[in-house]
């Protein structure tokens, strides 16, 4: 690393210097493309480490319900790229302004919406990207990007009172990133989409539903990890 930096500096400074002296020439060799990578060495490796996290989220994409929620996560990293991921959480869907407007006497309509109450999911996390980012020329942030696929179950409740509960099998693809705060902690941002099928009692129908969830939280990683 220092060798590369030195070579680069030398290349920049050399034209500014005085007359060249043949006896002062230093052979730094040839820099090949294969010698240049973004991160020469992982500062915060995950392999073999366990991860525990607490997250706050919101499901903002439903026209009738906005759902603040909290999630607990557990992760076990088998390798730098692959790990086990378990997430469990709960929340409560609140009526949006559109819903309230609809159910007002003006329209007299109530969408038979189901609100998220909780879920438990488990699956795999694949982290193909580790990168660092120079922020404002001052601080270098290390982060990874991961894809996740989890399965589990969700519990939901009808917004219409007495309208029933639903327990739905759930598949949850997701995309996220860990921004390492140090060797033992990271800020974790994730967008996941819980896809579930649920039985709605009043209409006696099976319905597909998705709960797109934006989650931000803190994770703690076991072990030292810094290399």
């Amino acid at each position: 690393m220092n060798k590369l930096l030195f070579a680069a500096l030398a290349a920049v400074i050399a034209p500014l210097g005085g007359p060249a002296h043949a006896q002062e020439t230093v052979d730094i060799g040839r820099i090949r493309d294969g010698d240049i990578t973004v991160v020469q060495k992982l500062l915060y490796p995950k392999e073999g480490r366990t991860e525990l996290g607490l997250h706050l989220g919101v499901m903002p994409f439903d026209a009738y319900l906005t759902t603040p929620n909290a999630q607990l996560s557990f992760g076990q990293h088998f390798s730098e790229r692959l790990g086990l991921s378990v997430v469990a959480g709960g929340g409560y869907g609140l009526k949006t302004g559109v819903y309230r407007q609809l159910e007002s006497p003006t329209y007299g309509v109530a969408p038979y919406a189901y609100r998220y109450l909780g879920s438990a999911l488990a699956g795999l996390e694949w982290s193909p990207i580790y990168a660092k980012l120079n922020l404002n020329g001052a601080r270098v942030i290390h982060f990874d990007v991961y894809f996740t696929g989890r399965i589990g179950a969700s519990v939901e409740q009808s917004v219409i009172p007495q309208g029933g509960m639903a327990f739905g099998p759930t598949a949850s693809p997701g995309l996220g990133s860990r921004f390492f705060l140090g060797s033992g902690s990271a800020l974790k941002l994730e967008l996941r989409d819980d896809l579930l099928i649920e039985r709605r009692s009043l209409t006696e129908s099976w319905e597909f539903k998705q709960n797109a969830n934006v989650v931000l939280g803190i994770v703690l990683l076991s072990g030292g990890g810094r290399s």
């Binding site: 407007q101 329209y107 009172p161 007495q162 693809p173």
Partner: protein, 426 residues
């Protein structure tokens, strides 16, 4: 690799917010939001066998009026204390806030044809009870010329009615004109009510002025268009119309065949678009629909009145006690007082609901759907406490202890069978 990332990203983001929800109708009501007006029509049998019954009604009427509570106009609204007191009274004694009025006609269609006798008696009238008793005894009660009434030499004109009707009282109240007024031997309480309503509205149904043709006879029309509004004021806008038939006989209304339920009249009454409730104070029936106390009342005639009371959520009170003597009218008027509280039992829906999709809440709490537990003597379903859907008028009907109390908020959610029109704000 790059293609795989893009495909995954598209899979994640494209379907966001695509949830599909069925739209339910939500209908909100408030038990107190309906009119507190009650228009009460007494349909009195003025045949000569009714003297004792009319006397009992008259004697008990003043106490009945007292029981209804303070007249709202006398209330004080000076300060917060008055407001709290009034509110407590409102909750505990709702009848004191009911704006009722009384009218009297007879079951004699040939002579009175539903015409009100003595005019309307309104709650705010001075001497309300006395005025009603005057109408009842001076105009709608048959006192045969040979009938001897007790004397009450100590009675002073202007004194209230005591425990019995005396000649002295009637001479004062009726200015000496109280004998006679005996009506037809055929009591037609249901027809008389129909004609009274015809006289009370500005645009009566055509049936009011048409002759009646039955297999047995043809009856000329009793009313002409000139009789329109001859009972003006009897039916007020948005009022609840309570018919109280007082008779020791059954109904013999001319449009009906002898042993039939009065469905035909139910359809006639519907043309007025009024909420009607019937009270029948008359001979009781046993479980076989036979008159308990021997007399001239026909079983089928009494069944007709019972039918009207049952189908309108009204009351039936036996005019006779266990010994087949005319009983005290206290209980009968108490039943009427309950009806004056005007609790709504049915709430109309805008659309026809999908079966099984109805949710009913009273003050935010779910109410169970009622189940049919029996059938009454007319073959009509008897329900347990709860609600039921009534297809005849597309409404939710409450039963028994599930009837919403005053101030209750009633919400009905249902999935309309014909969907929701797309006039929504999106």
């Amino acid at each position: 690799m790059r293609v795989r990332y893009c495909a995954t990203l598209a899979l994640l983001t494209l379907p966001l917010g695509c949830n599909r929800y069925d739209l339910f109708r939500v209908a909100g009501y408030q038990q107190e939001s309906f009119s507190n007006r009650a228009d009460v029509l007494f349909v009195i049998d003025n045949s000569d066998s009714m003297v004792e019954v009319s006397e009992s009604l008259a004697v008990n009427f003043a106490a009945f009026i007292d029981d209804l509570g303070t007249i709202e106009d006398t209330r004080s609204y000076e300060d917060l204390g008055d407001a709290v007191e009034n509110y407590v009274d409102y909750v505990q004694n709702r009848t004191s806030f009911v704006d009722y009025q009384f009218a009297v006609t007879t079951t004699d269609v040939d002579n009175h044809a539903g015409k009100l006798l003595g005019g309307l008696v309104r709650r705010t009238d001075d001497g309300l009870a006395d005025r009603f008793i005057k109408n009842l005894t001076c105009e709608a009660t048959c006192f045969r010329d040979d009938l001897l009434l007790p004397q009450d030499p100590g009675y002073q004109c202007g004194d209230p009615l005591g425990l019995f009707l005396s000649e002295d009282y009637l001479d004062c109240v009726c200015d000496g004109d109280w004998q006679g007024h005996c009506g037809s031997a055929i009591e037609e309480g249901i027809e008389a009510t129909f004609l009274a309503m015809c006289r009370a509205v500005p645009n009566p149904p055509l049936d009011c002025f048409e002759e009646i043709v039955t297999p047995e006879a043809t009856y000329p029309a009793k009313l002409t268009p000139g009789d329109t509004l001859s009972n003006e004021g009897m039916l007020r806008n948005n009022s609840n119309f309570i018919v109280v038939v007082v008779s020791d006989e059954g109904d013999g209304s001319r449009r009906l065949e002898r042993e039939s339920v009065p469905d035909q009249y139910v359809n006639l009454f519907k043309q007025f678009g009024r909420r009607m409730t019937w009270v029948y104070i008359g001979p009781g029936l046993d479980e076989n629909n036979q008159v308990i106390c021997p007399g001239t009342a026909t079983d089928w005639g009494v069944v007709r009145y019972n039918y009207m009371a049952y189908t309108t959520g009204g009351r039936v009170v036996d005019v006779f006690d266990d010994n087949c003597e005319t009983q005290d009218f206290d209980a009968a008027l108490g039943a009427l007082g309950e009806l004056l509280q005007n609790l709504l039992t049915s709430f109309p829906l805008q659309s026809v609901p999908v079966p099984g999709s109805v949710i009913v809440l009273v003050d935010g709490k779910g109410v169970d759907e009622a189940t049919v537990v029996d059938q009454d003597q007319f073959g009509l379903d008897v329900y347990s406490d709860g609600w039921s859907y009534r297809s005849s008028d597309n409404s939710i009907e409450f039963h028994g202890g599930a009837i919403p109390p005053y101030d209750a908020d009633v919400e009905v959610y249902y999935h309309p069978i014909d969907g929701i029109p797309r006039d929504l704000p999106f």
